[in-house]
């Protein structure tokens, strides 16, 4: 049985109200969706709140899932991102960060490649909420600036500017991290 068929069976069982099917869907996708929540949240506890809201939303909208339009995981990820954005908007967490330009000499991709995923996640989580949200949406989740502007109710130029600043801030963090590593390891 392929992935799609398995998902469809689980969804059909869920739509009939089988609690076990809901739990199987949760077990299957909790980790990948939790990674999405971790990127948008500032810590693990907040991410768990996002995940919980995302799954409730997914289960309530299961009858809207159309297998012809894509796989379940992509659909669920989109709902999870929306749940995160909704939470950020509700909590007024999204603010345009007005920090000045961070002067970084180069974007050291090699230094980035050396980082572990957990360290990269920590860097993203430490970004100001505005930078973090736009960076996640544009770079990782594939939103266009137009879509970001629409979702966050900001101008396209603001989205572009914030993204640039987010990149710069991350690059600085990578350099700081590299220097710190060199200092501790000689």
């Amino acid at each position: 049985m392929n992935q799609l068929s398995e998902d469809i069976i689980l969804i059909e069982r869920s739509l009939r109200g089988e609690q076990q099917a809901f739990k199987l869907l949760y077990q299957k996708y909790k980790q990948s969706l939790f990674m999405v929540c971790l990127r948008y949240a500032k810590d693990k506890m907040t991410a768990q709140d996002y995940l919980q809201e995302a799954f409730i939303s997914i289960f309530k909208k299961l009858n809207y899932f159309d297998p012809a339009k894509g796989v379940f995981e992509s659909w669920a990820k989109r709902i999870t991102i929306n749940a995160c954005l909704m939470h950020i908007r509700q909590q007024s967490l999204y603010t345009i960060s007005m920090q000045g330009e961070i002067d970084v000499e180069s974007n050291d991709a090699n230094a980035l490649s050396d980082l572990g995923l957990q360290e990269m996640l920590r860097m993203v989580q430490q970004l100001p909420q505005g930078y973090k949200t736009i960076f996640n949406m544009y770079v990782i989740d594939g939103y266009s600036h137009k879509e970001i502007a629409s979702e966050l109710n900001i101008s396209i130029n603001t989205s572009k500017t914030q993204l640039k600043k987010a990149r710069t801030a991350l690059q600085k963090k990578i350099l700081d991290n590299q220097q710190s590593y060199r200092m501790t390891h000689g």
Binding site: F22, K23, Q31, L38, Q52, F55, K61, R167
Partner: protein
């Protein structure tokens, strides 16, 4: 996107991460919350709307009754319910009054006091209006003094002969003539009129010869007197009405049957009111829908409390057709086709939620490739059958005395959406070799609608009285849907639910028949 971005994207989108403590949620905590969140809730909304609707109806009815009661009680003191003892007492009074009147009538024959009396202002007897029941001595005294007004005492014997003496009594004071006080008349006829709570008894010609004696009527026969409305205002002077405790004259409109039956038919415009959230959810399908005109028929029964206020209810049937459409990406699988066609099961977006449809796409000719991507446009039609029962009030600001009667109305509409029949009207594929052919085997599930819903109606109308018991009218109603016909609860309680409500514009012409006339 540069390499920097790509590294971030690839690392975070790698779904095959080993589960570790930092990237795994606390299952016990998270799952328990999710399970609680998706547990089926008892839908109290339907009950809420039912009680809300019932409460509104009760308030409307109470309001209407109070208005109707006030309009009559303001002009007429409520008569006391008579006991048998009271009836006998009243009869005695009445008989004595009649005797006194009779004597004075005879006196007037001897002296021309009637001429003087004719000029006497009836306002000279203010006491009579407040003395209820009438003191027989008062009447007697007034008569002796010659202060009885001309409208009470006939001017001459000749007048008595031509006009007939009229004995009057209210129904509450059941009239029984006493044997020990016979009334002798020298006039040609004596007519009794009996008032009743429902109108006035037709004249009962009891005597038609001179020197006839009135005989008592038994109490139990009073109820058998023929009841029919009769106007007495021209024959009964106000002072006598007061003296004999007559009820006030009823408004002209109340003489007719207060029930009216109206048959109407006309146009109705259904306007879907779909929540933004719902629309944006369906926007992914390029969802669209149409509002539409339709027809309606209505039978309405109304009850007039007075000339200005009526309550009404009825039954209305509406048949509405609407259309909706959206598009989907489908794949045509050449290798797994049956009879050069593929079968599909697809959720189609409608204003009444997603509804599952089964259909087939046929391959008309050979195509390149085993699998063809299609962008398919769906167009669906919906036939809606709705029954409704308006319950409300009509206000006639100008009363009902003229032939033209403008009115305004307010009502609560209790609707039962009996059925929505969906049909696939057209499916357009982006590939000229793959076409939809309506084979009649398509099925389209009925959406999960809320059958019961309510609306608030405000109306304006104008009727014209063609005959006393028949009118024609024209009416416009605007109605606002109070609860949705389709609803899916939003997971976020702070956001709007996905729902469709219906607002309506009614325009109808009607034939109105007064019952019993």
């Amino acid at each position: 996107m540069d390499r920097f971005d790509e590294i971030w994207k690839n690392r975070f989108n790698d779904s095959k991460l080993p589960a570790e403590e930092w990237n795994s949620p606390d299952d016990d905590m998270v799952w328990n919350e999710i399970a609680a969140g998706i547990a089926p809730k008892k839908d109290k909304r339907k009950h809420l709307f039912f009680w809300w609707g019932l409460g509104t109806v009760v308030i409307l009815i109470v309001f209407a009754l109070l208005l109707g009661k006030n309009s009559t009680s303001s002009t007429e003191p409520k008569p006391e319910k008579p006991t048998k003892q009271m009836q006998l007492s009243t009869v005695e009074n009445t008989t004595n009054k009649l005797t006194e009147l009779n004597k004075n009538t005879t006196k007037s024959k001897e002296s021309p006091t009637g001429k003087v009396i004719a000029q006497t202002n009836k306002d000279a007897f203010p006491k009579l209006a407040t003395q209820m029941p009438v003191n027989r001595e008062t009447v007697k005294q007034l008569a002796r003094n010659g202060n009885m007004p001309a409208r009470v005492l006939p001017e001459t014997t000749q007048e008595i002969t031509t006009k007939n003496t009229t004995l009057l009594n209210s129904s509450k004071e059941a009239m029984i003539l006493k044997t020990e006080a016979p009334i002798k008349k020298t006039t040609s006829a004596l007519t009794l009129k009996q008032a009743s709570t429902t109108g006035f008894l037709k004249s009962q010609e009891v005597l038609k010869s001179t020197n006839t004696e009135l005989t008592p009527m038994k109490l139990d026969r009073i109820s058998s007197l023929a009841l029919a409305p009769v106007s007495y205002e021209d024959e009964v002077p106000p002072v006598l009405r007061e003296a004999f405790n007559f009820p006030e004259l009823l408004p002209t409109s109340n003489k007719s049957n207060p029930f009216r039956l109206a048959f109407s038919a006309g146009m109705i415009y259904w306007k879907h009111r779909i929540s933004d959230q719902y629309t944006s959810d369906l926007a992914a399908f390029d969802f669209n829908y149409t509002d539409n005109y339709a027809w309606q028929a209505n039978v309405q029964l109304s009850y007039a409390f007075n000339a200005y206020l009526s309550a009404f209810t009825g039954i209305q049937y509406e048949q509405v057709r609407s259309a909706s459409g959206h598009n989907s990406n489908l794949k045509y699988d050449v290798l797994n086709e049956q009879d050069a066609s593929n079968a599909y099961t697809q959720n189609l977006a409608t204003p009444y939620g997603l509804s599952e449809a089964n259909f087939r796409l046929n391959r008309q000719r050979a195509v390149n490739g085993d699998e063809i991507d299609l962008l398919v446009d769906f167009e669906s039609r919906h036939l809606i059958h709705n029954w409704s029962m308006p319950i409300g009030l009509q206000v006639f600001p100008l009363g009902k005395n003229s032939k033209w009667k403008p009115y305004t109305s307010v009502a609560l509409g209790v609707n039962y959406l009996a059925k929505i029949t969906n049909t696939i009207h057209q499916i357009g594929s982006s590939h000229d070799a793959i076409q939809y052919e309506n084979s009649g085997s398509e099925s389209f599930a009925q959406p999960d609608i809320q059958n019961w819903h309510f609306d608030l109606r405000l109306g304006l109308g104008l009727s014209y009285e063609v005959f006393p018991s028949l009118s024609v009218g024209m009416n416009y109603d605007w109605s606002r849907g109070l609860n949705p016909i389709y609803q899916v609860e939003n997971i976020n309680p702070e956001q709007q639910n996905y729902e469709t409500r219906i607002d309506r514009h009614h325009l109808s012409i009607s034939i109105i028949k007064t019952l019993g006339n």
